[in-house]
Amino acid sequence: MNRPADLGDFAGGVLLVILCGLLWEVLARAGALDPQYFPPVTSIFSSLWDMALQGDLWTSLRASVYRMFCGFLIAVCISLPLGIFMGAVQFFRDLFGMVVEFLRPIPSVAIIPIIILLVGLGDSMNIASIAYASTWPLLINCIEGIASVEVLHVRSAQSFQLGPARIMLTVMLPSALPQILSGMRISLTMALALTVLSEMVVSTQGLGQVILDAQNRLDTPAMYAGILVVSVLGLLINIGFNWVADRVFPWIERYRGVEA
């Protein structure tokens, strides 16, 4: 996949992005694009720089990332075991099935008010919302991943006199891993989105608030800067996740762009 031609094209693509940025800069400075709505790229970066220097960028970033990972970890702790059990044992699938089917179509965003009612405002609200939202993609993918393990694989393992725990560990989990990892990646993406969203809905310190604040001040460069930070964060998370997954589970081939 890393043929010289491909890399060349990719580099060309990066160049294209930079060119677009330059075009934007030129048009904004020349006034062809209303600088109120499309601030020059350089002003976005200088705004970013200011925020970084003043320090509240870092505190906001830290707060957001902290909440995101807390929420995500809680989600993993819930959905991984639950998903594996539900996938492996028909009984659990039946037991929780209806509740899952009822809750699943409800967008996680809508649950934020309930969470506010339960735990009030503050960090726990954010973390709970993030956790709730991230639980679903991971849970569903876990269940499907485990449930769709080839019966043949399991039977082969059973014919070797392996006990259920060993079969789970050595056959089912590795088999379901690609889908579980895919679910994790989607969960992480949702976690980021919910982090920012929960911070916007109820203004608490964090990246969401940075953006909202900038909006109140009509400070468009700062808004773009905030969006940029979040997007870069999202990209880094994605890349980082793939990087780790490739190192720890090198035998899995990822397919790109099929899920959300």
């Binding site: 491909d6 094209d9 990719f10 060309g12 693509g13 990066v14 294209l16 992005v17 677009c20 709505y37 028909q90 009984f91 699938r93 039946d94 037991l95 929780f96 099935g97 209806m98 509740v99 089917e101 009822f102 809750l103 179509p105 409800i106 967008p107 996680s108 965003v109 809508a110 934020i112 008010p113 309930i114 506010i116 009612l117 339960l118 993406t189 980021l192 989105a193 920012v196 969203l197 916007m200 809905v201 969401g208 953006i211 900038a214 909006q215 009509l218 468009t220 808004m223 773009y224 969006i227 979040v230 997007s231 870069v232 999202g234 990209l235 994605n238 790109r256 762009g257 099929v258 959300a260």
Partner: protein
Amino acid sequence: MKRSRPWLGFAFLLACLLAWQTLVTVQVLDARTIPSPWTVIAAFADTQQLAVLGRQAVASLQRLALGFGLAAILAIPLGILIGQHKRLFRVLQPGLEMLRAIPAVILIPLAMLYLGMGTPMKVAVIAYGAFFPIVINTIYGVRNVETKFVLTARTFGYDRGEIFRFVLLPSTLPWIFSGMRIALSLGLVVTVAAEMVGTIDGLGYLILYGLRTFKVTQVFTGIVALGFLGWSLNKLFLFVQSRLIPWHPDFRKEGR
């Protein structure tokens, strides 16, 4: 595979509802913050409330439809075009990945600045969010057309244009649908988020407004309505899919 026992799930659901009801009755849960399930169910019997719910649901649905439709109209042809030209895809890939990394919800404040708080803002953000799953899945579908499908058509004398119409398009359709299904659920999330942040109307707004005015029952009825909306949209989509691509493995009635 053991047969499934749906009554088990139903029983569990009832048990949960009962537990909830008990917690409210014995006041472990304050009824002013969390209404009892009975209150919520009863609220649905109130025709006036139902009418309000219906109106808001329609408003949300309209936005979703517009945003989703806009995204689909743009993404599908674009995806087909990009998917066919490998170089074009590689060149556009960095840009696409970068844009895709921006969660649609985060653009809501920006969109509010440009387009105000009303429907155009929401439609724009929904369209943005829905665009990427569709375009990426379409590209993927086009790029993964089975080689032998194309070769077979070529041996029968099909030219490029005919191969496009009779092989590429039908073959890509499942992928397009897959992307659209993801886009639909994502779109719903964005719709609600946009309505919560940029308040005017819609189910998201209704829920948040209920929170702000301490009409907690409204919060719950709104959520239930939302769930129902999401569920019916999904079922509707599956129905349309089963009509348009009945040959897809997901819809095969007999297994082989």
